[in-house]
Structures are given as structure tokens and as C-alpha cells.
């Protein structure tokens, strides 16, 4: 089955889901779509640039808290304004953080991003008057495309207009990211991932390109974070905790970072598998962890890697 057909079927099923699927499952799609946006960005850094960030929950948190501040403090309810503000603030925070982090690679980069993530987590946890501390902040229902949908029950709002709004953001984010990774900039990132020393001999300023990838990935994570707010209606520090960073790295590995859509698939499987395991066993973390570990061991290239052809292997064997 061709990739385009699979993609068309997946998109069609996603569009039809609110009409045919139980509301509960439709609502589960909301965090999936928010994480998918964040993972598209994370994979620009991970899969395409070769840098593994363990602190991207920082930017999820920046996006989510931006929405919470705007809706509950500044009374700004427009989702478009929230998304733009989240993206801008994500970039603003990522610029200095990235400038420091991209000087390092491998585990040092990962640990440094983790450290910045924990600084932000501690900030939102401890500055109670500003952020609400461990109780978090309310993320009031935003208007979509200028239309206030206050009269609609929350479930109907989320499974209807907000669902399609999130889907539209995901599709737009996917198209933009597709353009980025297939541009000369994306090619340069791949050369940096393959061999940064040799990439320099082509005139590629490695640090500058890594920084750009970092900022773009942060913008995506912030937009994803902003999308996570309305379904729960509240933003708290757990969203910025290091386990969130671990989860999104794991989603990327689960789906396969070598594939463009791998992380999106990883987010889908992670969220639905987690929900299913939670519903059938009390000690779900144990079972969930074991299942995920088994998948990663059986499919080192991620779930997408099971399906994507490997021309180099085929060519060498032929």
C-alpha cells in the first residue's frame, strides 16, 4: 500500500472520527493531535539534526502557560492569538536556551536541555502567586476563528469545533514541517546529523543551523502545549516536568525518528495504548512500560520502520 494512500486513509478516518467514534475516543484524539504537533518539531531536532532533547517539556509548558495567562489573566480568548503568542514566546525562550545548548552534543546536550526544563518546572511550581503553583492556572475556553462557542457543552465543544480546529493546526503544522525538511535547510540539517565536521567543509555553519532547528522545534512544542490546554481546562507544572520530556522522546522512538510521520504514529500508539492499559490493569505503569520496551526491542526503527522500505539494504543484498 502506498504511503499516500495510507496517509489519505488516516486523514479520512481522523476527519470522520467525531461522526462515528465514541466521544471518549474522540476526546483522546485531542492530546494526540497536540503531541503530534510538538513531536513534528522535536523530530526536526532529533531525527533530522541528531540532537536528543530531554527538556522539551519546557516549551510545552511555555505554550500551555501562555494560553492560561492570556485567557485567565489578560482575558484574551482568541485561540489564534494564543497560538501566535505561544509560538512567539516559545521562540523567545528557545533563542538564548538554544544558543547555550547547541554548543554541546550527545549526552551533554540532552542533560543541558533537561536542566533548563527543570529550571522552568521549578519556576512555575514555586512562583505560586504568578503561576498558581502546583494547582496550576485555568485555561479558559478559547474562541475559535473569532467565534465564541460558550453555549455549547464542554464535551460537544471539544469533540466538535475544537477537534477540527486541532486537526487543522496539525495539518498546517505538518505541511510546514514537510516543506522545512525537504528544503535546502532540511538537507543541511541531515548533513549535520550525518557528519558535522564534513558539513562544515560545505560552508554550513553547524552551530547556527542547530540553533535554528532548536528554535523551530521549540515553536512547534509551544504550539502543541497551547493545544493541550483547552481539553483539560487547567495547566499545571506536571506538563513541564521531566517525565513529559521523557514521554515525548519515547513517543518519537516508538514511532520511529527516521520517518517523517513516525513520531506522529508514536504519539497515537502511546496515548491509546496508555489509555487501554490503564483501563484493564491497576498496576498499569508496569505493564505499559513492558509493552513499550517490547515494541522498541522488536522494532528498533520504530513502528514506522517496520513499514518503510530500506533501499540501501535491499540494494546491497541484491
Amino acid at each position: 500500500m502506498s504511503g499516500r494512500l495510507v496517509l489519505a486513509l488516516a486523514l479520512g478516518a481522523t476527519v470522520l472520527a467525531p461522526l462515528v467514534a465514541p466521544t471518549y475516543h474522540v476526546l483522546l484524539m485531542l492530546p494526540f493531535m497536540a503531541y503530534a504537533v510538538a513531536l513534528l518539531g522535536l523530530n526536526l531536532l532529533f531525527g533530522y539534526t541528531g540532537l536528543v532533547s530531554f527538556g522539551h517539556a519546557l516549551f510545552l509548558g511555555v505554550g500551555a502557560y501562555t494560553g492560561a495567562f492570556l485567557t485567565s489573566v489578560f482575558k484574551v480568548r482568541s485561540m489564534e492569538v494564543i497560538l501566535v503568542a505561544a509560538a512567539a514566546l516559545g521562540a523567545l525562550v528557545a533563542a538564548p536556551v538554544g544558543a547555550l545548548c547547541v554548543r554541546y552534543v550527545k549526552i551533554y546536550f540532552g542533560m543541558l536541555t533537561l536542566a533548563f526544563g527543570m529550571v522552568f518546572y521549578t519556576f512555575v511550581l514555586k512562583f505560586y502567586r504568578l503561576t498558581g503553583g502546583d494547582e496550576g492556572m485555568p485555561f479558559l475556553r478559547p474562541t475559535l476563528l473569532g467565534r465564541s462557542i460558550e453555549g455549547l457543552p464542554k464535551t460537544d465543544y471539544l469533540a466538535g469545533p475544537y477537534y477540527y480546529y486541532s486537526l487543522a493546526v496539525l495539518v498546517l503544522a505538518t505541511l510546514v514541517m514537510w516543506r522545512i525538511v525537504h528544503s535546502p535547510f532540511g538537507l543541511c540539517l541531515k548533513t549535520i546529523r550525518d557528519n558535522p565536521t564534513k558539513a562544515e567543509t560545505l560552508g554550513i555553519g553547524v552551530a547556527r543551523y542547530r540553533w535554528c532547528a532548536f528554535v523551530i522545534s521549540a515553536v512547534y512544542a509551544a504550539v502543541g502545549g497551547a493545544l493541550l490546554g483547552p481539553p483539560t481546562g487547567n495547566v499545571d507544572p506536571t506538563l513541564a516536568y521531566w517525565t513529559q520530556s521523557g514521554n515525548i522522546v519515547f513517543m518519537t522512538l516508538l514511532g520511529g525518528f527516521a520517518s517523517f510521520f513516525g513520531p506522529v504514529l508514536g504519539a497515537f500508539v502511546f496515548i491509546y495504548l496508555q489509555d487501554w492499559v490503564m483501563s484493564v490493569v491497576p498496576f498499569w505503569r508496569l505493564i505499559f512500560g513492558a509493552i513499550l520496551a517490547a515494541i522498541v526491542i522488536a522494532a528498533p526503527g520504530g513502528l514506522a520502520g517496520l513499514w518503510v522500505r530500506r533501499p540501501s539494504v535491499e540494494a546491497s543484498s541484491s
Partner: protein, 235 residues
Amino acid sequence: MLTVDAVDVFIQASHILRSVSLGVGPREVVCLVGRNGAGKTTTLRTIMGYLRPRAGGVEFRGHPIHGRRTHEIARLGVGWAPEDCGIFGDLTVAENIEIATRTRPGGRPATERIELAFRVFPMLRRYAGRKGPELSGGERKMLSIARALALDPELLVLDEPFEGLAPAIIPAVSEGLAAITELGRSILIAESNIHHVPEYTHRLYVIERGAIVFAGAQEDAWRDPGLARIIGSAT
């Protein structure tokens, strides 16, 4: 074009290059010959900014480049084809060549530069859609040089372009280099095998234990018994 002036390079505590000087003029082909471990690659890596000289300097088109980063030197117009080729395995042949036209914009149009690279090494055109791991050693060498050429450089720095190649593929690479010289580019080649030094070489440098021991015409080097022993044993 390129002047390396009395360069001393240390790697940790080891004194690798000792007052190395050499020059490459416009449209010149210059060869640096020496045995394995003599300091050829270290000299080229110093030119490319990977190593910083403790003394002396490197100038390109009259401007010092020894303090500059590698990517800045490449953008000034120095193309580099390393000994291990440095092919990006996840990119196709066409992408490997195309990327060099994006990172140093200006000058000739990208399409012209890509076409020139394929014209110099016609064999690569057939493999345009193949990825790095699907190429033979000779094809990788050609791609490495073609990619450096697509950067539209004034000077090409080639580290052992014939190293490890099957005898059948050497003429194809050699013809490609000859075609590049006809384009008027300057070329600096490091080579450990004297028999691979192209006949159109304008000047030969012999390096031994980190020091230049000869600079002159290829035939003059053979007349010196001491040098003939060094470059003869380099085969």
C-alpha cells in the same frame, strides 16, 4: 591564491608540522607528496581550519584564514574533498552535489554548477538517485570531488584522491581532475603515491617528518637521490 607561510602545528604535545611553507597560484596544480604520517593531511586540515597553527599563517587571496572557522573558509571559496570522502549517506548523489550550491550562493547559477559537476564526472549522472552507501569507493571519491566543485571554489583541496581506488577507476578520476584544471581552478593535491601525481602538475612539494624538504618541478625531485628514495618509497 593560497600561501602557507612557515606554519607550525602541534597536536597535543606532538610537534606535527615544522615551519611548513607552500604556495598555490591561480590556475596552478600543486602536489604535496609524502609518506604516510609525513604531515600531508595535517597540512590540508590546517588550511581548512580544523587545526590552528601555533606559528606562521595561511592566506587565501591575500587574506589570512588561519583563525577562521572551517565553514567560513569554505564559503570564501576553498573546496575540500577529504581522504575518507565524507559522503552524506542519507542523501542521494544529486542531493550531495546540490547542497553545495545552496551553502555558497552567488557566482554561477546552481543549475550550471550541478551540470558542471556531472560533466566532469559523467558516471555520477547515472547514479544521481542513489544514496552514499550504494556507491563504490571510486564513485564516492568522484562524488566527493564533484561536491567540492559544486561549491564553485577558486581552490580545490584534495586529500589522496586516488587512495584505495581500483586501477580501473583511476583513469576516470584522473580525467575528472584534468577537466577541472581546464576550467581554470587551482588545485592542491596531497598524495602518498608519486605515480598518481598528475603529469600536468605545475609544482611538487615533498614533505617528510612534518617539514617540506623539496619544492620544485616533478622531474627535479627524481634527480635528487635522497628525495627519490623518499618519494619512491612513498609508493
